[in-house]
Amino acid sequence: MANLRRFIIRRLITFIPTLIGVTFIVFIIAAVIPANPARVWAGGQKASPQVIKKLEEEYHLKGNLLERYYWLIYKLFTNQIVSPRTHHYVWEDLAYRFPVTLQLTIIAFIYILLLGIPLGIVAALKRDSWIDTTIRILALIGVSTPVFWLAYLLIFLFFTQLHWITLAGTPVPPYSITGVPLIDALLKLDFKTLGQILSRYSLPGFILGFMGIGVTARIVRNSFLDAMSADFVEYAKARGLKKLRIYRHVLRNALVPVVTVLGLMFGGLLGGAPITERIFGLPGIGNYMLQSIYQYDYLALTGAVFFIALIYLTANLVVDILYAFIDPRVRY
């Protein structure tokens, strides 16, 4: 366990530099390259020089890059930056939009877990049968499909034709415990709100998770096959272990790569959020990022990137620690 603690501490030490690294790169590119954001914020060509100058001063648009970066991150964290586009505090904007993206990601993740893992296990158990081939082909088609295209096809089917889902509004229950309506409704067993949330989010979640289902199925299949054909499984049989116990060895070993991939997948889902949120008109962080980009609002953009990086890196951290729990070799 001492090893484990050392591992976690070491892992935490790399956390902060990575976070700074990512946001700094985004900041540099977003802040240095566009012609003059202040002019855009002030209203384009007709903007008065005084307003531009004022904006430049207010947002620290001139000066030493490192100092500007520090200023921005500091102000973001202390919630002092007002977006020139939305005229709200950026951090508040993000916190307000976060539950939408989180719910979307959770539902996408549930699809991946419920479909990808069983499909992969079935394919591994029925190796080289027609079931395996079918799952393999489906997975291949899955990773080849442009999700935004699939989204429209499914909207046509479930919304236009069958009227099973809704495409407007974001259900928010009157109470708030964690701030995330999905979790709150679950905690309160409020099935009406839950139903509303599901009818709004189930299709976007599926679209967001779609590519991950195929990828997961493939990785689960391969890691199961690897684990099942491992020498220690043969030795476990030779030792006369009971079937269930042998399965436990297989499962735990197969899980090692799967956990890593699922962790990375979580980040991939965050990356896919802008597309899904745009198609389904969900006011999440992805959409916020896109709006910031369209309006040259690099302050909000850096803020959003920072926010996503924070979530993503935390998710990775959790996965790594989980990984160290199941695989003692990682702890070294």
Binding site: Y235, K242, R245, R252, N253, P328
Partner: protein, 334 residues
């Protein structure tokens, strides 16, 4: 000393159903291991030694299948035998690891990397009811590690396989395999994956355990030196068949089969002075389309017409020395 068999194999056939075709890996193998002896199976890589050993508890992995044969296991000296081929999976499981145990070639992959050594020993004992709980098993595992001369067993019991050296891992594997006091230990090239110095230590350990616990050992190896050092009786395998079987002195002094002779010329002979090592011409045959007749005939320097057509019979040249070769059938026929 009269032979009290512990296991007896009669006319074993094993095929592997691969994409390329059916590999006739074991083709009519019969032998018997006596209680208390160390019996060796020798031969080149791919000759079917390991498959034979795994067949003894029907541990042949798919796409392999035991086509026919009888495998008799005698739990008690002189008692009634059990036909392994007729047992259910559960009955087999109870024999594996408690009556008949295995040690495989590579200790680096034999142990599950995600569990401690102690846990894996404990679960082996627990599976056969030797201990009531895993906790108790882990406590007993310390004694087992002591028995296999593991340094610092109290610490090692809590170690994961990757924290041990290759030799220590193999000690742990041997300990795991012996944890239920099996009667027969099948050691499948137990030292091939280890450093030369560690090899000696492991062989010393096996010798000591055999002496202390009156173990019967089936040793599979391609190392003639080990054969001379360890074995009482030897069977030489070639391309899925036993070509010669004899007591170890007889085999080294009076090899009969051309393959055995070639094999002994190819390695330093521990009993005889050999002027020059010779390699065996030709290559190991493809067992999807094995050569007809005697499987060694394409490489045999003494090949005759009949060798190409008919499978040679097994001839008992002396008590305890049999050979499958037409050369000796003719001599007797004359």
């Amino acid at each position: 000393m009269e032979c009290q068999p512990i296991i007896e194999v009669k006319d074993l056939y094993v095929n592997f159903y691969t994409y390329a075709g059916i590999v006739k890996a074991i083709d009519g193998v019969s032998f018997k291991i006596c209680r208390g002896e160390t019996y060796c199976l020798v031969g080149e890589t791919g000759c079917g030694k390991s498959v034979t050993a795994r067949s003894l508890t029907r541990l042949v992995p798919p796409p392999g299948r035991i086509e026919k044969g009888v495998i008799l296991y005698y739990p008690e000296p002189g008692g009634k035998p059990i036909n392994i081929m007729e047992l259910s999976e559960e009955e087999l499981r109870k024999i594996r690891g408690s009556e008949i145990s295995y040690v495989f070639q590579d200790p680096n992959t034999s142990l599950d990397p995600l569990y401690t050594i102690g846990y894996q020993i404990a679960e082996t004992m627990h599976a056969h009811g030797t201990v009531a709980s895993i906790k108790e098993g882990i406590r007993k595992a310390v004694h087992i590690l002591k028995m296999v001369l593991m340094p610092d067993p109290e610490t090692r019991v809590k170690n994961y396989p990757h924290e041990l050296s290759g030799g220590m891992k193999q000690r742990a594997v041997i300990g795991t395999s012996l944890s239920n006091n099996p009667k027969l230990l099948i050691a499948d090239e137990p030292t091939t994956a280890l450093d030369a110095t560690v090899q000696d230590q492991i062989m010393d350990l096996l010798r000591k355990l055999r002496r202390d616990r009156n173990l019967t050992i089936l040793l599979i190896t391609h190392n003639m030196g080990l054969v001379a050092e360890m074995c009482d009786r030897v069977a030489v395998m070639y391309a899925g068949r036993i070509v010669e079987e004899a007591d170890v002195y007889e085999l080294f002094n009076n090899p009969l089969h051309p393959y055995t002779k070639a094999l002994l010329r190819a390695v330093p002979n521990p009993l005889k002075r050999v002027e020059k090592l010779e390699s065996i011409p030709g290559t190991v045959p493809n067992l999807i389309y094995p050569p007809p007749g005697c499987r060694f005939h394409p490489r045999c320097p003494m090949v005759m017409e009949i060798c190409r057509e008919k499978r040679p019979p097994e001839i008992n040249v002396k008590p305890g020395h049999r050979v499958a070769c037409w050369l000796y059938a003719e001599k007797r026929g004359e």
